[in-house]
């Protein structure tokens, strides 16, 4: 955006008050400090281009091997991580469970150890079970990035959502952010909550009572069951997808009723602040969570989120790899 220098120079762009990244893995936002989150966001800004096609190829990760291990389907996150690694000149491995020995009964830890033995420095892991990336971090020595573990966390999605808010509205602190939809089954909701609260935003979670666990208020968020009540107070609304694949049955009566009560449509948008920002982590069910004219309208930042996702993932890969280089240097 407008703040990005023509020739990003990462060594001089470092602000004096910025901390040094020390963590080997990126497993969740809950255990990051505000400073660590801001460090990633600042580094990501350096990689943001108005048009990603003009992103020049850099040599930061030359000789590094980045492996994508997606035990659960993904289009956007997987492509985004793969492209981020390639933009930084890393070598990449793409692992698909259907074409692997998992179906022959190999445990997923053994599968990951084999890929590590091929020389992987970084493993990007998506898994349907919460804690699966944490388990790999326990048993492997390469860096692990959580690309979504069940309903637990999706840290890079949380970071790109927050980066988009910061770019469009200039700040995060003091804003009111509504997370709308299936909170119970959403890893995006949890990463958003931890990241936004650490950066000083107010968070309201909103959805049908069956999809909003009451205990979530203990994290420091407000709960609402009525979108129309909270909409006039929100600076940002993040529209979460209904996780049909993770739900037990019978959590709400019908998709039609859901769309009536919680779908973001043009008429509802008129109740919102005039400069409201709409995010959606995707994939979206058009006509359910959001109508097409809203998804493609001026308030929506859906495509900017995708672009920012690439920048956030480049920043995370570079921070983790620089850390491992300097750690190796210290030992050698």
């Amino acid at each position: 955006m407008q703040n990005v220098p023509e020739e990003p120079n990462l060594t001089t762009a470092t602000k004096p008050e910025q901390i040094i990244w020390t963590k080997r893995d990126l497993l969740d936002l809950e255990n990051l400090s505000r400073e660590e989150i801001e460090l990633i966001l600042d580094r990501a800004e350096d990689f943001v281009k108005d048009d990603p096609r003009h992103q020049e190829k850099r040599s930061d990760l030359k000789g590094i091997v980045v492996a994508n291990l997606f035990f659960e389907p993904s289009t956007r996150t997987r492509t985004s991580f793969g492209l981020a690694a390639k933009r930084l000149s890393a070598d990449t491995i793409d692992f698909t469970p259907s074409s692997s020995s998992l179906i022959k009964g190999e445990s997923f830890i053994d599968t990951a150890k084999n890929i590590q033995a091929m020389g992987a420095d970084v493993m990007v892991v998506r898994h349907a079970v919460p804690g699966a990336p944490h388990l790999l971090a326990e048993h492997l020595h390469c860096a692990i990035i959580n690309a979504g573990d069940g309903a637990h966390e999706h840290p890079t999605q949380g970071l790109l959502d927050i980066l988009t808010i910061r770019q469009r509205l200039g700040r995060v602190e003091g804003l009111t952010v509504g997370l709308v939809g299936d909170i119970a089954h959403s890893r995006v909701a949890r990463s958003n909550i931890h990241g936004l609260l650490k950066l000083g935003a107010k968070v309201i979670v909103c959805g049908p009572p069956t999809l909003v666990p009451r205990s979530i208020s203990r994290l420091g968020v407000e709960i609402s069951y009525h979108l129309d009540d909270i909409l006039p107070h929100c600076d940002v609304v993040n529209i979460l997808r209904i996780q049909f694949e993770r739900q037990r049955h019978g959590l709400f009566p019908s998709v039609h009723e859901y769309a009536m009560l919680f779908g973001m449509n043009g008429e509802r948008l008129r109740r919102a602040k005039p400069d409201i920002l709409l995010l959606a982590p995707g994939p979206i069910n058009r006509g359910v969570e959001v109508t097409p004219e809203v998804a493609d309208g001026p308030h929506s930042a859906i495509l900017q989120q995708v672009t920012n996702g690439l920048a956030v993932r480049m920043a995370v890969l570079k921070l983790l790899c620089n850390r491992s280089e300097s750690a190796q240097g210290a030992h050698g």
Binding site: E30, S107, F108, I109, H127, V129, P130, G131, A132, H134, L135, H139, D149, G150, A151, H152, E153, A184, H185, R187, R190, P213, S215, I216, R218, L219, R248
Partner: protein, 271 residues
């Protein structure tokens, strides 16, 4: 004695009646299987935070209540296995006051550990009933103190490391407890002053024998010489690698504890 998980009340009531003939209790693992389907840990704040499917306390309490009502209906004797929720303890306490013939037991981990342990995503904290909250742990201790809970058990469940070292929802339920039973009881019950030594020994020996209706658990003349000699003061660190048990799925690894069995005599023979 009958251990069962039947969900057909009429059948349970019949069994409860039938057991009267033998002076044996119906022993039930209280779990509403519909409510626990797919669950991994106690349902509450921690399961919400970790995104893991919950096993609600209600799944246990509904079955405890059902069995108490059936014991009351038939006059049969009920023993509730491994109680874990504060609500269950209270149901049993109230039933006993009404004269229902009921006894209960608790596992060492349920009066020592909470669901916060699962933040490590370590399957050595995965069992059923699951670890619950601090309030539940406190209720177990209160139940032991006022006699609502008669016995302390391990629910010893060995699993091979390769079975346990898996994604949390695929790892089997259960932990081992035989070799940590005594030091954990000392740590959680004797040292804080919740139970005296005689009370603890009663809950580990006399009461379990009485519940099962077997002639064991005493030192009276003529009884089988099944004796454990305890050194209550020896300090040691729990290291599952050194267990006699082949399994390592222990939730107390690396704990510094006090007290250990010094000598074990079974049927008069020193082991």
């Amino acid at each position: 004695m009958m251990v069962h998980r039947s969900s057909v009340p009429r059948l349970c009531a019949a069994r409860s009646n039938n057991c009267l003939m033998f002076d044996k209790p119906v022993m039930n693992h209280c779990e509403d299987l519909e409510l626990t389907k797919g669950g991994v840990m106690h349902e509450g704040f921690e399961s919400m935070r970790l995104g893991l499917r919950g096993l609600p306390a209600a799944a246990e309490e509904i079955m405890v209540y059902r069995d108490l009502a059936l014991a009351e209906l038939t006059g049969g004797r009920l023993h509730v296995l491994h109680v874990s929720s504060a609500g269950s303890v209270e149901l049993i306490r109230q039933a006993r006051k009404r004269g229902v013939n009921v006894t209960a037991e608790v596992c060492t981990h349920h009066f020592t550990l909470t669901d916060e342990c699962l933040r490590s995503f370590d399957s050595n904290f995965k069992m059923y009933p699951p670890l619950r909250t601090r309030d539940d742990v406190q209720a177990m201790i209160e139940g032991l103190k006022d006699g609502t809970i008669d016995a302390i058990v391990t629910d010893h469940a060995p699993h091979a490391p390769e079975k346990k070292m898996r994604e949390l929802d695929q790892a089997p339920n259960g932990v081992i407890g035989l070799e940590t039973l005594l030091p954990i009881c000392i740590h959680s019950l004797i040292e804080p002053g919740h139970l005296t030594w005689p009370q603890l020994i009663e809950k580990l020996t006399i009461n379990p024998a009485r519940i099962l209706g077997i002639d064991r658990g005493t030192l009276k003349p003529g009884a089988d010489a099944d004796v454990t000699i305890i050194d209550p003061n020896v300090e040691w660190t729990i290291d599952p690698e050194k267990f006699r048990s082949k399994s390592r799925n222990c939730p107390f690894a690396n704990w510094k504890v006090r007290g250990r069995a010094d000598t074990v005599i079974v049927g008069g023979v020193i082991r």
